[in-house]
């Protein structure tokens, strides 16, 4: 993998989610930053673009839906993957309307999310060619 590493941002207010996801994506060759507070994640996004954002929806302060909208406003080409424990058709529909790449219900298995992130990465890479 000689290409530049793709940058991934993970936002979830449950530290365990960040702790588990980070190494599993790093092993696939991504550069990963994790956040448990949305405003800190927002600050990071404002500073530099991320290729892929993985975010929870329900959080204190700025919720995931608003966060992903703001991030998309800044960088429309960023692919966003939503992970949530409150998976309903409604939220899924709304996410897709907001241009979300994929939607995963919690609990999920690591392989499942690795595959989705990989797909998002493939899409980004093929778009860049």
């Amino acid at each position: 993998m000689a290409q530049n590493k793709l940058r991934v941002l993970i936002l979830d207010d449950e530290p365990i989610v960040c702790k588990r996801l980070k190494p599993s994506l790093e092993k696939l060759g991504f550069e990963v930053d994790t956040f448990t507070r949305s405003f800190e994640a927002m600050q990071a996004v404002e500073k530099a673009a991320y290729d892929i954002i993985v975010t929870d929806l329900k959080m204190e302060g700025m919720d995931g839906m608003r966060f992903l909208q703001e991030a998309k406003k800044l960088y429309p080409e960023t692919e966003v993957i939503v992970i949530t424990g409150f998976a309903t058709m409604e939220t899924a529909k709304e996410s897709f309307k907001k241009g979300v790449f994929d939607f995963i219900a919690k609990p999920f298995n690591l392989n499942e999310i690795q595959k989705v992130v990989q797909r998002a990465a493939d899409k980004i890479r093929s778009a860049g060619q």
Binding site: M1, D12, E14, I16, V17, K19, R20, L21, P23, S24, E26, K27, L28, G29, G85, K106, P107, F108, N109, L110, N111, I113, Q114
Partner: protein
């Protein structure tokens, strides 16, 4: 495959039938006031079975999530617990409806089980009244470091799970500590003193002295003191050590709290107070302030162990800190008791030993021993100068160093971190583990995870993207394929266990395995549960694994990416050991494991046992087992049954197969021309019963010859006869034209078949439940496995648990249901005494082949 079905197994459409029948029933008979009508009862029973299945599925799901392959959060735990609670309330209500309210106590049972679970989820220290003041190491509840402190919790795991030799002893729990504070009215005083100190109104030394004085002057509560005295009678001298909550966890309080060795039995209560007081030593106070831990209540558990009069003692570091890349560990050893080494006054021998078996010794440095400490004849310790010829002798032999290396590596494999292990060698040459904790070392470098793509370039892959993760992790070792008992006996420490089945009898080698790969099985299965208990990385459902993995060759199993590499992937192993955070230690996982302990274990096995009562239910599983058993009993209870059926037509089936089957026809199940109380098979109109019976009666299925019973089978059958003989009930089929619910007790087996054969496939299902049987559990589970294999061939979804087999299949066309009911008919006959004949695991494939061959002409599946 043996995975749990994703759908509830019963999609019954019997409501309309029942409603119509109920009307009719009420018209014809006036049911007695105290008894509900049979159709109603039956409806409750069906609902109950559905709830039972849902609960089983949630339990399986929770188990699966504890294997590390899933990311979950606290919300998931909360949701699952809420769902369980609602289902159990339903179940209990259902049973009480069926039984005219005979089990109101179950509501109390439910509270008893769920209150601590809720407390647990709210993150409160669950030091509920059920927790003991004093508990033996052998009974120590593991995964409760808040009760026992980290040090004791580790030792509990070492002795209970890894079965390594740990000196016998007991723990005076944090609950006893709180009780001590309460009895001596110390809580407010401690709080006030610490607040003043934090507010800089008092200096550290003075505060410490006042706090410690308070504790030392306290009186050990009677119950606690009595229990200590009772337990210390076992040995003359004791080691009394701190095991504070948080110590030996992520933070190291190493050396901050007191440890007292060679305490005479009488002196243990006083020593206990001294250890408690060390919680407030000036150093401990400062450390906790520094670590910002004063907000939490400090709690001290105290570990008391019999003193090993050691010939030598020392420490093992499973990683050679000076050269971590050399794959060696370091053994430090000194003659006599451990004091000189612990105090840093003596120079111990130092042996560098290879981490991998057979643990060659790489180097050995032996230092002169100026003095040794040994137990004094009248108690306490004494220092002696060794004779000149003993001064330069090595403290331990190479063989002992190798034993230590083996134990140390198995500890590391379990705790998933380099370990620092205190050990002692007694006069008989037996090695004892005194303590094991994570080895503190500064991260060598903050290197990023090894990337899978790079590894794939360097190592060849033997398996990829196959199977399901039962327990996540990385493990390496030589492949060891287990196909027979002999393979099990010789299973080497640290090998990779490869097996066709995930049978319960593999359990005893699980703790020795570096990783497990099974061709069959599900993450909800028995082996998966055991693998999680021993934290062994495990993949199940890896087809053809035994064909691909050659015995004796080194492999590295990485379940995180579902890859098996040829050879030892050293960089990956290093990363996992040194850098990766092990999920097992995350608080959510601990919480889930504690929760599972109150949910999953089944204690109520035997319905005839005196503790088969609401009070005897200790877990969620127990409750549903109890409810299910009692519900079946209600349904099968002869006197009440007859009362319910007074005036109802109950047919007796006359057949060459002597089963004594009673049939209750809810409509359309029996030829209208039938007369009297008896029917023949030809008069059965109920499609499912007719078909099943066809299978049972097929030539050669119902063997009437006496069956050869070998000695051990017979002995075991004799001991179980009483239970079977007293089991209540008789064989009953409840039918309609297209529906069958059949309870069969044949010999010692209990079969339940629930099936519908309708023109519309969406209404159709078969549910089959098989349990019980003579002979020991090993044989019974062998039979269960054979049943599972046969049923899986016919595309049933099968779950096995011990000797319980649950198979289900849904939404098939009538003809497909027909084929499978024929198979079930065969199976019922075939398995009647099968477990007596299944003598070894190797027999299973042969029997399977025999059965399938016999069935072939009858129920050809190739076309399906």
């Amino acid at each position: 495959m043996y995975d749990a079905g994703e759908q509830p197994y019963l999609c019954l459409r019997i409501e309309p039938v029942l409603a119509a029948l109920q009307k009719l029933w009420k018209k014809v008979f006036k049911p007695p006031e105290e008894l509900i009508t049979f159709p109603e009862l039956f409806e409750h029973f069906q609902a109950l079975l559905q709830d039972h299945q849902k609960v089983m599925e949630i339990i399986a799901d929770l188990g699966e999530k504890s294997g590390g392959d899933y990311v979950f959060d606290r919300k998931y735990l909360q949701d699952s617990v809420n769902e369980l609670h609602v289902l159990l309330l339903h179940l209990i209500k259902g049973l009480n409806l069926i039984s005219s309210n005979r089990y109101p106590d179950l509501y109390t049972t439910l509270d008893r089980i769920f209150l601590p679970i809720d407390a647990e989820l709210r993150g409160r220290l669950s030091l509920a009244a059920e927790m003991p003041y004093v508990v033996g190491l052998e009974d120590l509840p593991v995964d409760h470091p808040e009760l026992t402190g980290g040090k004791a919790a580790n030792l509990g795991e070492i002795s209970q799970r890894l079965h390594l030799p740990v000196p016998p002893g007991f723990i005076i729990t944090t609950r006893a500590f709180r009780y001590f504070l309460e009895q001596n009215q110390l809580e407010d005083r401690i709080h006030a003193l610490i607040s003043a100190w934090l507010g800089r109104e008092a200096d550290t030394l003075q505060t410490s002295r006042q706090l410690q004085y308070g504790l030392l002057a306290g009186v050990v509560p009677q119950e606690v003191g009595r229990e200590i005295r009772r337990r210390t009678e076992a040995a003359p001298f004791w080691a009394v050590r701190s095991s504070a909550h948080g110590e030996d966890g992520e933070l190291s309080f190493a050396g901050l709290h007191e440890s007292l060795l060679q305490v005479p039995a009488r002196g243990v209560p006083e020593a206990y107070k001294k250890i408690l007081a060390s919680l407030f030593s000036p150093e401990a106070l400062s450390y906790r302030r520094q670590m910002d831990m004063l907000g939490e209540e400090a709690a001290m558990a105290v570990l008391c162990q019999e003193v090993i009069a050691s010939r030598a003692s020392g420490v093992v570091h499973t990683l050679n800190l000076e050269a971590p890349e050399t794959e060696c560990l370091t053994v430090y050893a000194y003659p006599g008791l451990g004091r000189p080494v612990m105090d840093g006054r003596a120079q111990p021998d130092r042996l560098v030993v290879e981490r991998q078996a057979p643990h060659h010794i790489r180097s050995r440095e032996v230092f002169p021993k100026e003095y040794v400490v040994r137990p004094a004849p009248g108690g306490g310790e004494e220092e002696v100068t060794p004779a000149p010829e003993e001064r330069d002798l090595p403290a331990i032999s190479d063989a002992t160093a190798q034993t230590l290396a083996r134990l140390a590596i198995s500890l590391e494999r379990y705790f998933k971190r380099p370990q620092e292990i205190e050990w002692a060698l007694d006069q008989t040459g037996q090695v004892w583990i005194l303590q094991s904790r994570a080895l503190a070392f500064s991260q060598i470098s903050d290197f990023p995870p090894v990337e899978v793509a790079d590894l794939r370039e360097r190592y060849s892959l033997l398996l990829q993207d196959q199977g399901v993760v039962a327990h996540a992790g990385v493990g390496a070792g030589p492949v060891w394929v287990v196909e027979s008992d002999a393979d099990l006996e010789q299973f080497p420490e640290g090998a990779v266990l490869v097996t066709r089945y995930t049978a319960p009898w593999l359990a005893r080698v699980v703790p020795k395995a570096a990783a497990i790969i099974a061709e069959r099985g599900s993450p909800a299965g028995h082996l998966a549960t055991i693998a999680r208990e021993f934290r062994v990385p495990t993949l199940v459902g890896v087809e053809k694994a035994t064909g691909v993995l050659t015995p004796g060759t080194e492999v590295t199993v990485d379940t995180n990416n579902r890859l098996v590499y040829a050879g030892r992937v050293q960089e990956l192993l290093h990363y996992e050991l040194l850098e990766a955070t092990s999920f097992e230690d995350a608080s959510e996982f601990r919480q889930l494991r504690r929760l599972l302990k109150r949910v999953a274990p089944l204690h109520l096995i035997d319905p005839q046992a005196p503790d088969f009562t609401p009070e005897g239910c200790l877990s969620v599983h127990d409750v549903i087992r109890f409810v299910h058993e009692k519900a079946v009993q209600e349904l099968m209870d002869l006197p009440r049954f007859l009362k319910r059926f007074k005036g109802a037509q109950l047919w007796t089936l006359v057949s060459e197969v002597p089963m004594g089957l009673k049939i209750w026809d809810l409509g359309g199940g029996i030829d209208p021309a039938a007369q009297g109380g008896e029917v023949t098979a030809a008069q059965i109109r109920s499609l499912p019963l007719k078909t099943l019976w066809e299978g049972v009666c097929a030539p050669g299925v119902w063997s009437t010859e006496p069956i050869q019973v070998d000695f051990s089978g017979l002995m075991s059958s004799l001991t179980r006869t009483t239970e079977a003989a007293t089991a209540a009930g008789f064989n009953l089929a409840v039918i309609t034209g297209t529906y069958l619910n059949l309870h069969l007790r044949l010999g010692y087996h209990f079969n339940l078949v629930d099936a519908r054969m309708d023109a519309d496939p969406h209404h159709n299902h078969i549910y089959f439940r098989f349990v019980g049987g003579v002979t020991d559990l090993t044989r019974r589970s062998r039979r269960a496995r054979l049943l599972a294999d046969i049923l899986a061939k016919y595309h049933f979804k099968v779950d096995i648990k011990g000797d319980l087999v649950i198979a289900k299949i849904l939404h098939l066309p009538q003809e497909e249901i027909r084929r499978r009911l024929l198979v079930l008919g065969h199976l019922i006959g075939f398995t009647r005494q099968l477990d007596m004949q299944l003598k070894s695991d190797e027999d299973v494939p042969a029997y399977l082949a025999k059965f399938l061959e016999r069935l072939q002409p009858l129920v050809d599946l190739e076309g399906s």
